[in-house]
């Protein structure tokens, strides 16, 4: 831990750049200007590329510096490979997710014409949900789609930030609308610019006119002229955040569109985060009347999250999975704070990053598809690290308990044997995750078919399953109970779904024949009695209106007797289905036998560090500052500010001045007399020694006070002379 000599840290020289607003950074002694860039460009590029290749791997050398270059690179490559694959899948989901909305809206735009809308502005109300962070993406995609795929004309995305006044809004609108075209038909533009080929006299005359008469740049006439030269093009205006718009500007804008509609074919897209009613209330009726259109619901974010989660964590394609605590953290953050899929994906990426950055064993994940060669890659240090993994220890202890002493000896002493074992076992470890995912999928589907009203998505179940709560919790029991009561239609539906969604032999094989049998039974029943649905004998809830025990019993008897032969047979089959489901679920969620803890090297397959995520994504900047100031010894750990026995010390003269001020500040009321603060400060800082220079103390006092203001703790007040107002209370 080399510490820099203090004089380097506290340079007291005046650096002009410190007070320059902004500048391009150069190293000391380097010229500001790049030297002869053009001549050496090719060469430079080559070297740059090489440099990029070289520097690409930013991972530190682990294992006490003994990690070899090749494994380091391998680790980095594995990270890149795995994350790229994951990112690609995630992106595909995200893209596909919006695609329905995009398709609908773009069809609307294509189709829209004022004539079809009784001469009103064709308007699409896009209900995009409360996550404003995703709106930008959505509208960008919309604009891209309409611009590049549909080519119906220019798209202008207006945000409330652009629309401070009508003038600026129009200016931006016109600029964006008329410029975009350059990308679409380049040749024409060039031709126009050069003034060369004159294929269309009318247009050129038009152009010259528009060029000769100077129009103000916010005049819609410009757009009108442009539209005349680009017949058949619609001008799509997308209002991204309608709620944040000034309602006057918005209504003026719409009124203007309305009046120009006969000359400029406008199509309006309005993004709404709240509800249509609120949008209605925002605008005057006269403006509302100018619009006609449809509303489009963007698919719900939860479904998107569920899909991404399923893909990245429970699917069999996933390699690195999240552990219970990280998972909880991410979901909680999603639910309670961000509601943003992007943030979730970012956090997922961060999990990958930290895993591969700091865990030398993560290279194992690279061999998941093909364990050959893994043995050669693992060095002695790696093996040693493996031996230190808790799950390995548990594994060895398990062996010991089973009295396989020879095995244990080999595991502890023979490096090659460990390599061999690991290579053998990683598939098993991976399968654990896959099986868990499948079991969860089964449970989710089962639950969604039986308990339609309280649907729990897989991501909610996942963390519970990992931590072993699922086994004891009500989720499984509820499902199994209702399974027993299912009618044949519902059960067939369930089985059908399961066959499709969870194609795993463990569950499909025993269920397949049962499904066939039930189908047959139903057909038989339909043929004989015309009854289409068979009822399970366990289903007694559907018509128990009478409450007393006796009457229930009576009814039970009645019901039983009213069951047909097929019903009884069906009940038997249901019982079988129930047994299969139960055994399957218990096997998979039994934490004592099938828990994560028992999986060898689960530390490598499941990333479960919560603290890095909470530190970088959910920081507490304010309490960090408050803590630093109120307990400087936590950070500085200096002998002077800490009493010998590590007890609470309170204010001391040796503490940093700002810290002293802050602690005094904490004790004071809402108004602080500066002079009193000063005298308190002085007595603290001077301490016992009488001859502490008052002037120095004063300078320190001023500086610390300035810092307090800089940090936002105090402000000037006029309530009383020489007083400052307190702005923050610690811990609130």
């Amino acid at each position: 831990m080399e510490s820099t000599p203090p004089e380097e840290v506290y340079i007291d020289e005046f650096d002009p750049k410190e007070h320059q607003g902004c500048y391009i950074f150069t190293l000391d002694g380097e010229e500001d200007r790049p030297t002869k860039r053009r001549k050496t460009k090719g060469k430079q590029r080559a070297t740059e590329k090489a440099a990029v290749e070289e520097e690409k791997c930013l991972f530190p050398v682990l294992l006490d510096g003994k990690e070899t270059e090749s494994t380091l690179k391998l680790r980095y490559r594995t990270y890149c490979k795995l994350w790229e694959a994951q990112e690609k899948r995630t992106k595909a989901i995200l893209d596909s997710f919006n695609s329905k909305t995009l398709g609908d809206v773009s069809a609307f735009v294509k189709d829209a014409a004022p004539e079809k809308f009784e001469g009103k502005i064709p308007t699409a109300l896009v209900l995009a949900g409360p996550n404003i962070a995703s709106h930008e993406l959505l509208f960008e995609q919309l604009a891209q789609r309409i611009r590049n795929q549909d080519r119906t004309g220019p798209v202008v995305v207006l945000t409330s930030k652009d629309a401070t006044s009508l003038k600026t809004t129009l200016r931006k609108l016109i600029r964006d609308a008329t410029q975009q075209d350059e990308g679409v038909d380049d040749e024409e533009d060039i031709a126009r610019k050069v003034g060369g080929v004159d294929e269309d006299p009318q247009r050129s005359s038009l152009l010259t006119r528009s060029q000769s008469t100077k129009l103000l740049n916010y005049d819609l006439q410009i757009l009108q002229t442009w539209c005349r030269s680009h017949a058949g093009q619609k001008v799509t205006i997308a209002i991204q955040d309608s709620e944040a718009f000034d309602s006057n500007v918005l209504s003026d804008l719409i009124t203007l569109f309305g009046s120009y509609l006969d000359r400029i074919p406008f199509v309006l897209l309005v993004g709404i985060a709240t509800s249509v009613e609120i949008f209605h209330d925002k605008l005057p009726k006269s403006t509302i009347r100018l619009m006609r259109g449809n509303k489009f619901d963007v698919e719900r974010a939860e479904e998107c999250l569920a899909q991404i989660f399923n893909d990245s964590i429970t699917s069999d394609k996933a390699v690195l999975r999240l552990g219970a605590s990280v998972c909880d953290f991410l979901l909680e953050r999603y639910r309670d704070h961000t509601q943003s899929i992007q943030t979730f994906v970012g956090a997922l990426k961060y999990a990958y990053m930290s895993h591969f950055y700091a865990n030398p064993l993560s290279i194992i994940l690279g061999f998941i598809d093909n364990p050959d060669g893994l043995g050669e890659v693992l060095s002695t240090e790696h093996v040693e690290a493996i031996r230190n993994v808790p799950s390995f220890r548990r594994y060895v202890e398990g062996k010991l308990a089973a009295k396989e002493v020879g095995e244990v000896r080999k595991l502890l002493a023979d490096d090659n044997y460990v390599r061999h074992t690991v290579a053998e076992k990683i598939l098993e470890s991976r399968n654990y995750g896959i099986e868990l995912g499948q079991a969860l999928a089964f449970l989710e589907i089962g639950r969604s078919c039986t308990l339609a009203q309280n649907k729990t998505p897989r991501y909610e179940l996942y963390a519970k399953a990992l931590s072993g709560e699922l086994q004891t919790g009500p989720s499984i029991r509820e499902f199994l109970m209702s399974l027993k009561r299912m009618s044949s239609t519902a059960l067939l539906n369930l089985l059908e779904n399961v066959m499709q969604e969870v194609p795993i032999p463990a569950i499909t094989e025993p269920l397949k024949p049962l499904q066939e049998k039930i189908k047959k039974l139903v057909e038989e029943a339909a043929a004989s009695g015309g009854k289409k649905t068979l009822i399970s004998e366990f289903d007694i809830t559907n018509n128990t209106l009478r409450g007393t025990a006796v009457s229930k019993k009576v009814r039970l008897g009645e019901q039983k007797s009213s069951l047909t032969k097929q019903d009884t047979e069906y009940s038997a089959l249901v019982q079988q289905v129930y047994a299969i489901a139960e055994s399957y679920l218990t096997v998979n969620f039994n934490s004592s036998q099938h828990g994560l803890q028992n999986v060898l090297l689960h530390e490598i397959f499941f990333y479960d560090l919560r603290s890095p995520h909470s530190a970088v994504f959910a920081p507490k900047p304010r309490s960090t500052i408050e803590r630093g100031l109120s307990r400087p010894q936590d950070y500085l750990d200096c002998s002077c500010c800490t009493s010998g026995d590590g007890e609470e010390v309170g204010i001391r003269g040796t503490q940093p001045p700002a810290s002293i001020i802050y602690q005094l500040y904490l004790e004071s009321g809402a108004l602080i007399n500066i002079y009193d603060l000063w005298s308190a400060f002085y007595s603290v800082i001077a301490g016992d020694e009488e001859e502490f220079d008052a002037q120095t103390a004063q300078a320190l006092f001023y500086r610390s006070l300035a810092e307090m203001r800089f940090l936002g703790f105090v402000k000037h007040t006029k309530k009383k002379t020489d007083h400052i107002a307190k702005l923050a209370w610690k811990g609130i």
Binding site: Y635, T654, V714
Partner: protein, 573 residues
């Protein structure tokens, strides 16, 4: 003994977090994931995720709140005494990390024991109730029934640690007894303790210094009374002697800070990796992070023009400067592209250039272009929350800039409320990874002594004339015109009186003259209306009123000439 530096050569091995931060699971999980951590010798392997602050790790033994709360008469002696704004209280007061939760829980328990008098709104606080409780007990003599006593204990618990420095030494023994009693949970209330309770009430027994209670406590009427001393008795400190003194004094905790910084520097590779993965970095924590960031800049600096430094604390900075500098870096110093005049245009130009480059870079190595966009640009912003960057507009532009894949942002914040600058959309665009970078370095560049002086005299109001603009924007035409008249008069007065060298404050407008003018301009028709208009300005400290030597009322806008001109320009425009 506390010098952990020598003891644990690798602080990573003790990923402790102070118990006050409620992230206990971290402890176990770190060691769980780090197989190699237990591996031989002090391996420098670190999890990417360092526990928030390296510095914190060194404090390994942490006290439990109850320990802290326990009355320790011994600690009372070390505290230094002084005529602080309030009666200085014992320093070892209830300082339980984040004991707010606990207190809350306790105060929830006690709503039943409202004794004496109807409960008014003002009496809501549990703390107050407990005070009242103690008072009533002390006064009424108190029956020593068991449950009464329990409640009493509870009340006192809520009240916190009942020790006051103003109790003379003789009572210390008593205190000790009570402390012990409390610990034992004993329920025999002695007369001594009752006596003390009485005294506790009379003295300002204890003050909560954090948590919501402190807010209510410190905002009580009685608390707001402060002494009338002024700074007049303090000698004036001019700039040069200020700087000389600061320099001569030398920094404190040099080694510790250097060590702290060293710890942060060890994170550089991690930060660099995070940047390379498309995240942006945001550093927070007490202490100037300038130096640290500049060192980081040196590390990530690759080629000319790949790094732009922005000093957000420089008051004259404008967002346009930022964008033009970025453009210069992105495109090259001698480009001929028209950037556009408004910041939005500039940003669009920059982004589109960066976008198009990607395509062309691949295709050909054309030399036709008179500019060459760089492949990647890093922007380093000291104080993203600096005054000039605090506007929504600036933040929007910066967030859009930083969300471009070819641009990375490294920034620092210092203001405790800086995160309020961003809404959900901004946050997701910034895509920040936060890192605690508490350095304890003085903010010598970022804040100046002038700030402190401004705090005292109030002349340099935060935001300068910005606030005035906002106020004016929200006022009716009449008021604006009145202010225009006042400002233009005052400016004229300054021009005329420049030779007279009177202070700017002296150049005001007489009340009657201004009124006359206002009537002439149809701003108002009677004195009443005039006063109402003026009141608004006075409330916002935009107008000062003073009687001059002759006893006539003089009004003026308390701004410098340049500021006045700026205001006038805005008003007329």
């Amino acid at each position: 003994m506390k010098r952990k530096r020598t003891v644990s050569a690798s602080p990573r091995n003790t990923p402790t977090k102070p118990s006050s931060t409620p992230t206990a699971p971290a402890l176990s999980s770190i060691s769980l994931n780090l197989p190699a951590e237990t591996a031989p010798s002090n391996t420098p392997i670190r999890p990417l995720p360092l526990p928030e602050t390296p510095g914190k790790q060194r404090r390994t033994t942490l006290l439990h709140p109850e320990q802290l709360n326990g009355a320790e008469p011994g600690t009372g002696t070390e505290s230094v005494h002084s005529p602080s704004p309030q009666k200085r209280l014992r320093t070892a007061m209830t300082r339980d990390g984040n004991g707010t939760g606990v207190r809350f829980a306790e105060s929830v328990v006690s709503p039943g024991d409202a004794i004496g008098g109807p409960v008014t709104n003002a009496d809501r606080s549990a703390r107050r109730k407990s005070v009242r409780r103690i008072v009533s007990k002390a006064i009424g003599g108190g029956e020593d029934s068991d449950d009464e006593d329990e409640e009493d204990l509870l009340a006192r618990k809520i009240f916190g640690d009942d020790d006051s420095d103003d109790i003379d030494g003789g009572l210390l023994a008593d205190e000790e007894a009570i402390g012990a009693q409390k610990k034992r949970g004993g329920r025999n209330t002695t007369t001594g303790s009752r006596k003390k309770k009485k005294q506790l009430v009379e003295e300002e027994i204890t003050a909560p210094i954090d948590g919501p209670d402190s807010y209510f406590f410190q905002n009580r009427k009685a608390r707001l009374v402060t002494s009338n001393s002024t700074l007049a008795s303090l000698p004036v400190l001019d700039h040069s002697s200020y700087f000389r003194l600061i320099r001569e004094h030398g920094p404190d905790h040099v080694e510790e800070r250097a060590y702290l910084e060293g710890l942060h520097r060890q994170n550089f590779p991690q930060w660099e990796f995070e940047l390379s993965q498309g995240f942006n970095l945001l550093l927070y924590g007490y202490g100037s992070k300038r130096n640290l960031l500049m060192q980081f800049a040196k590390r990530i600096y690759r080629s000319p023009r790949s790094l732009v430094v922005i000093n957000g604390y420089v008051p004259t900075l404008t967002i346009k400067d930022v964008l033009t500098t970025v453009a210069k870096a992105a495109i090259g110093p001698d480009h001929t592209i028209r950037l556009g005049s408004n910041p939005n245009d500039i940003l669009d130009t920059i982004l589109s250039i960066l976008d198009t480059r990607t395509a062309e870079d691949e295709e050909t190595e054309e030399e036709v272009e008179e500019y060459a966009a760089i492949p990647h640009l890093t922007i380093l912003i000291h104080n993203l929350d600096g005054e000039p960057l605090r506007t929504t507009r600036a933040q929007v532009l910066l967030s859009r800039l930083s969300s471009h894949p070819k641009i990375s942002l490294v920034a620092s914040i210092d203001h405790i409320r800086a995160p309020l600058l961003w809404d959900a959309a901004r946050v997701s665009q910034f895509n920040f990874l936060w890192h605690d970078a508490t350095t304890f370095a003085p903010y010598s560049v970022e804040s100046s002594i002038d700030d402190s002086l401004a705090l005292i005299s109030g002349t340099g109001r935060a935001g300068g004339t910005k606030g005035v603009k906002f106020v004016l924007a929200s006022l009716p035409m009449n008021a604006k015109s009145l202010y225009r008249v006042l400002v233009s008069h005052q400016l004229q007065g300054i021009e005329d009186g420049a030779i007279g060298a009177a202070g700017e404050e002296e150049v005001g407008v007489e009340y009657k003259v201004l009124y006359q003018k206002a009537v002439e301009e149809f701003i108002c028709s009677n004195d009443m209306a005039f006063r109402t208009l003026l009141k608004e300005f006075q409330d916002h400290q935009m107008v000062s009123l003073k009687k001059d030597a002759q006893g006539t009322d003089v009004l003026w806008a308390p701004f410098k000439k340049e500021e006045l001109e700026a205001i006038l320009e805005d008003l007329v425009a």
